[in-house]
């Protein structure tokens, strides 16, 4: 099932955890209102059953994430730059770039940090192990982890890339999130193992990660995107467009270890 880990867990392999990316109550300060009004709106196409033609609908799937990140991460500095990302959910749009900069911020010491989403699946096994340790997941044999990634249809990552303001512009890249999907490459995909580094939680990054993962799957024409969610994260995924027990269809597990 899906392990979505944003707080420390016990050793059970099936345990999943509270996401910290819930939309918070709107901030009414004029700074945030201005940022919100200036943010570009994103468009998707939706076939409306009651009309014969398609109708445009405005949608801002990443807005909550952006505002969360602004609220939590940027209050202390004025050099915030919110980087636009293409967020329309068209299925016939141009191929998505494999790397998307979700946000960029400059700290007071001049260090520039970018949070980058990638579907290239470039995962260092030891970085992933460190990340899993941070969220408290039990260690798994590296050879098996390597195989599970290799056999996944899509492996998505979040990296923090910091650039120092020195002469060489030294860069440091750190894995701060991951999610993967298995699939038959035609009809169905199942998302597993979504996790975000605890020190980066609460900024909407888990939400952005899953959203981009969904987009990448839709882009590849996978029509049925599924996952198994712990009760604590069901609402998190509902907010991302997932439905539990659609038409009464139940997720079942073979002799689960509980």
């Amino acid at each position: 099932m899906l392990r979505s880990s944003l707080v420390a867990s016990s050793s059970s392999i099936c345990q999943v955890h509270l996401p910290a990316c819930h939309s918070k109550s709107p901030n009414n300060s004029s700074y945030f209102r201005q940022m919100r009004d200036e943010a570009p709106t994103k468009m998707i196409w939706r076939e409306d059953c009651s009309f014969s033609r398609k109708r445009r609908i405005e949608l801002c799937p990443l807005k909550a994430g952006f505002w969360d990140s602004i609220r939590s991460g940027f209050l202390k500095n004025n050099n915030t730059q919110v980087v636009e990302t293409p967020t329309s959910l068209l299925e016939d749009e141009e191929p998505l770039p494999q790397e998307i900069v979700l946000l960029e911020r400059t700290q007071s010491d001049g260090v520039v940090e970018q949070i980058v989403f990638s579907s290239a699946g470039d995962v260092d096994l030891y970085d992933l192990q460190t990340l899993c340790d941070k969220v408290g997941w039990p260690r798994r044999p590296l050879s098996k982890v390597a195989a599970s990634l290799k056999n996944s249809y899509l492996v998505a990552t979040l990296h923090s890339i910091t650039r120092l303001p020195d002469a060489e512009g030294t860069e440091r890249k750190q894995l701060i999130g991951m999610g993967r999907a298995t699939s038959d490459h035609a009809f169905n995909a199942t998302i597993w193992d979504v996790l975000v580094d605890p020190s980066y939680q609460g900024q909407g990054l888990g939400k952005a990660l899953v959203e981009q993962l969904i987009r990448a799957l839709l882009q590849r024409d996978i029509g049925n995107i599924t996952l198994f969610a712990d009760s604590k994260v069901v609402d998190f995924y509902k907010n991302l467009g997932f439905e539990a027990d659609p038409e009464g269809i139940k997720g079942m597990f073979w002799f689960p270890r509980f």
Partner: protein
């Protein structure tokens, strides 16, 4: 086994499906044994090489599944970690079928479990499911999941499947759930 210590990258192109290594299914306690199946005229198949995709589509339609594009079915079968089908008098025509996807080590999901209506009620669905589960367990996978329509939840329970264990919910992405969100 050597593990790459440095950065691990996935190939950018979809890897071609390889010939699967032979994995004997340990038939410790199947409800219908391999001999029983054989004596009743059923042949077991674990690859889709001889499978008539159009006949499979017909069985899907007969049980109420949508018919699907044959190229996509081919692709789905090539990328399933495990599959099993039974034929009877007509070679290549499936009377029972099941397949599973997954990462080959930790998780698997079973899809498209079907028995042709004229062969239902004699235990073929159970036979196919027991063997698929045994095959997945033989790969070391213990996290085996599936999505069950309400009327077949009772079919999977005696096979060892439990619904919503510990409150875990099966969820499906629905494009119509993307609603107009205001800031």
């Amino acid at each position: 086994m050597q593990i790459h210590m440095s950065s691990f990258s996935l190939p950018t192109s979809t890897p071609k499906p390889k010939r699967k290594p032979f994995r004997p299914i340990i038939a410790s306690s199947f409800s219908i044994s391999d001999q029983d199946l054989q004596s009743r005229g059923f042949t077991q198949h674990r690859s889709s090489t001889d499978l008539d995709l159009d006949a499979l589509n017909t069985v899907f339609a007969r049980v109420g599944f949508p018919r699907r594009d044959l190229t996509r079915i081919r692709r789905a079968l090539d990328h399933s970690s495990s599959l099993l089908w039974l034929s009877h008098s007509k070679p290549g025509e499936p009377v029972a079928f099941a397949r599973a996807t997954g990462d080959g080590v930790f998780n698997a999901v079973v899809w498209d479990v079907v028995v042709d209506p004229s062969f239902q009620g004699i235990g073929l669905g159970r036979a196919v499911m027991e063997r698929i589960v045994a095959d997945l367990r033989g790969m070391g996978i213990v996290n085996i999941a599936l999505y069950a329509e309400p009327r077949v939840i009772g079919f999977y329970r005696p096979l060892g499947f439990a619904a919503d264990p510990d409150g875990i919910k099966g969820m499906v992405f629905s494009k119509k759930n993307i609603i107009n969100r205001t800031s």
